[in-house]
């Protein structure tokens, strides 16, 4: 099977969906003439023209609102945030409008929109440009949240997200765009809400998503060298979440380690942990452990950034603790 990059997977999914459905268009900062700040939309302006690949000024609240308003009339916008950090100035539009118009209108007006862009920490981008904000969006009913780790998942899930009739928060990994994965040439979809067992194993379960999967891969050699056999469950979708897969993976091993790029408090990992203890209490052999970003804004210095994020040392320490029970 051919390998393509995460970036190519995102672009291919958008192009195919725009070719399939004339109601789909892409809007955001630098998506057109500049060819995309992260080059996800390279070549798309030329292919689809200025009504379908739309450059906006720097006004996230404005163009997020425009996307939602357009979706109210049945269009299917893909709104690109140059990074998810900038989505915070559009938060009211996403939370109060995209997520709630269906409910407030008594089911009359669906909002079929995808908000997408890179999230997570970049290389030395410091506090305002290195954040994993998925927990904010998972918190809000009415939104779906997808955070794929591989090119394969990004392609199949983005296509499903564009076809979904609900607002979807699609969080790409800023440092994942150049990572490659096998993706078949023929079209396929991955349903939102289905997790993926990336590695079968019997000693303990690692639950993760997006860049957390790559942190896990960084540590995997050391884990195997220590003689452990981990099951790696990639959630892929964070809302809805594959509860069945979480339960099955937990029951298989009885031990769970959650690895996430975001902050630890009131996080997606803390919800997963709560879910597991409510549903699998008597099958757990050890407390559920979590490795996350430290509870601080992201520092600039390279060594501090590395200390702040999950890394193989922290993961190994957690694994040893988990297996000591």
């Amino acid at each position: 099977m051919p390998k393509i990059t995460y970036r190519e997977a995102v672009r291919r999914a958008m192009i195919e969906e725009m070719e399939r459905d004339p109601n789909v268009f892409l809007m955001g900062e630098e998506v057109g003439h500049y060819q995309g700040a992260y080059k996800c939309s390279q070549g798309m302006l030329e292919k689809f023209g200025e009504m379908r690949v739309v450059d906006t000024p720097i006004s996230e609240q404005g163009f997020a609102g425009v996307g939602i308003g357009a979706a109210m009339l049945g269009l299917r916008p893909i709104i690109e945030f140059m990074t998810w950090n900038f989505s915070l100035v559009a938060f009211d539009q996403i939370y109060n409008n995209a997520a709630k118009i269906l409910y407030m209108s008594g089911g009359q007006i669906p909002i079929p929109i995808v908000f997408r862009g890179p999230g997570g920490a970049g290389g030395m981008l410091a506090a305002q440009h290195s954040q994993s904000l998925e927990a904010l969006y998972v918190h809000c009913p009415g939104l779906k949240v997808v955070a794929p780790a591989t090119a394969y998942d990004a392609y199949g899930l983005l296509k499903s997200s564009i076809r979904d009739n609900n607002p979807v928060i699609f969080i790409e990994g800023e440092v994942l765009y150049n990572t490659s994965w096998e993706v078949p040439d023929e079209e396929f979809l991955i349903p939102i809400g289905k997790a993926d067992v990336k590695r079968e194993g019997k000693d303990f379960t690692i639950i993760t998503w997006n860049r957390g999967f790559w942190f896990t891969m960084e540590a995997l050699d050391r884990i195997l060298k220590e003689g452990y056999d981990p099951l790696i469950l990639d959630l892929r979708s964070l809302r809805p979440m594959d509860e069945q897969a979480i339960i099955e993976a937990t029951l298989k091993t009885g031990r769970v380690l959650i690895i996430e790029e975001g902050w630890p408090r009131a996080s997606v990992g803390s919800y997963v942990s709560d879910f597991i203890q409510r549903n699998c209490f008597y099958d757990l052999h050890a407390p559920i452990l979590r490795v996350s970003q430290e509870d601080v804004p992201m520092p600039y210095a390279r060594n501090l950034e590395r200390l702040s994020l999950p890394n193989p040392d922290k993961i190994m320490q957690a694994v040893k603790t988990l297996m000591s029970f």
């Binding site: 000024p57 609102g65 407030m104 009359q108 007006i109």
Partner: protein, 309 residues
């Protein structure tokens, strides 16, 4: 027009009574005093056009022809409400009437209006969208971003500022560095206008060219219409920040009395006014009866409409 303004007035007087009796709760922002604005503007629209409104949406909804029974039932939180009891006073929606909602965050919906305009242009529809908002919204980011994008892309939007001189309890002079809202259009290279909103025919005539201009694809306008709410900001507001003299001055410009005088001058007789009054009262009483007899939403509705399939 006169009948519709009177319907708004009687509907809201009834709503205020029911609210005071504890028949419903939440925020209830009355439109009383501002009837000529919504009525004049909406009469200038066609059925295919779109409207997006604020939390003070009763008047706009009634003029647009949303079913008074369903609106009253919505206020009372009933299953038969216009949005099944899920929105209440601030969130009337009727997709069949292209009424895209009352919205509760001041100014947030101004950006949505530009999006509706975008969709009209994208789909090449022969339509325009009118966005109503108060002068308080002119200070929020979504207003400026929405106007800039609409002007940049020449979207068919008419932004209608209903300037009722108070953002909740804060008068204009304490809130707007430039008290003239319409002048902000200059910053966005947008057509602007500003006029009084107590004469419904005058509102209709002044707004029409801007709607037609938008329809021709010649871009958006920002129109500021001066008006006044006779009541407080919401039912929980006794409006003590205004002097009785000020309120009386404005009440002398009551748009309904004004329309009545004009109709009298044109030969409409007392019998006709009585007939309209009776018709309107019947509609309102029927809506109240219907609402009170309607069931509450079924418990399972708590979890419906969060997502669509």
């Amino acid at each position: 027009m006169y009948r519709d303004m009177l319907l708004i007035r009687r509907f809201e007087e009834a709503a205020a009574r029911l609210y005071a009796q504890g028949k419903f709760g939440g925020f209830c922002h009355l439109y009383i005093g501002q009837e000529a604005v919504g009525t004049g503007v909406i009469y200038a629209l066609q059925e295919k056009d779109y409207i997006i409104s604020t939390y003070r949406d009763h008047g706009h909804a009634l003029v647009r022809g949303l079913d008074p029974r369903a609106l009253m039932a919505e206020l009372l939180g009933k299953r038969t409400g216009i949005v099944k009891g899920k929105g209440g006073s601030m969130h009337f929606f009727d997709v069949h009437k292209n009424f895209l909602g009352g919205h509760g965050i001041v100014g947030g919906h101004v950006a949505l209006a530009s999006g509706v305009g975008w969709a009209i242009k994208y789909k090449k529809l022969d339509a325009v969208v009118v966005a109503f908002f108060g002068e308080g919204a002119a200070n929020i980011g979504a207003f400026h971003e929405g106007l800039n994008l609409a002007a940049l892309w020449k979207l068919p939007v008419v932004f209608v500022c209903e300037n009722n001189h108070y953002s909740m309890g804060t008068p204009i002079y304490r809130a707007l560095s430039v008290p003239d809202v319409s002048i902000r259009a200059v910053a966005y290279n947008m057509e602007r206008d500003k006029f009084d909103g107590d004469d419904v025919l005058y509102v209709y005539k002044r707004i029409l060219p801007y709607i037609e201009k938008a329809r021709r694809g010649e871009g958006p306008s920002l129109i500021e219409i001066s008006t006044y709410r006779f009541r407080g900001h919401s039912m929980s507001d006794p409006a003590k920040y205004r002097t009785p003299e000020e309120v009386e001055t404005w009440k002398r410009r009551d748009p309904i009395s004004r329309a009545q005088k004009m109709l009298e001058y044109n030969g409409v007789d007392e019998k006709e006014f009585a007939r309209i009054e009776a018709e309107v009262r019947n509609i309102v009483e029927d809506a109240i009866r219907f609402s009170e007899e309607s069931p509450e939403p079924a418990p399972y509705e708590l979890y419906t409409d969060v997502y669509v399939e």
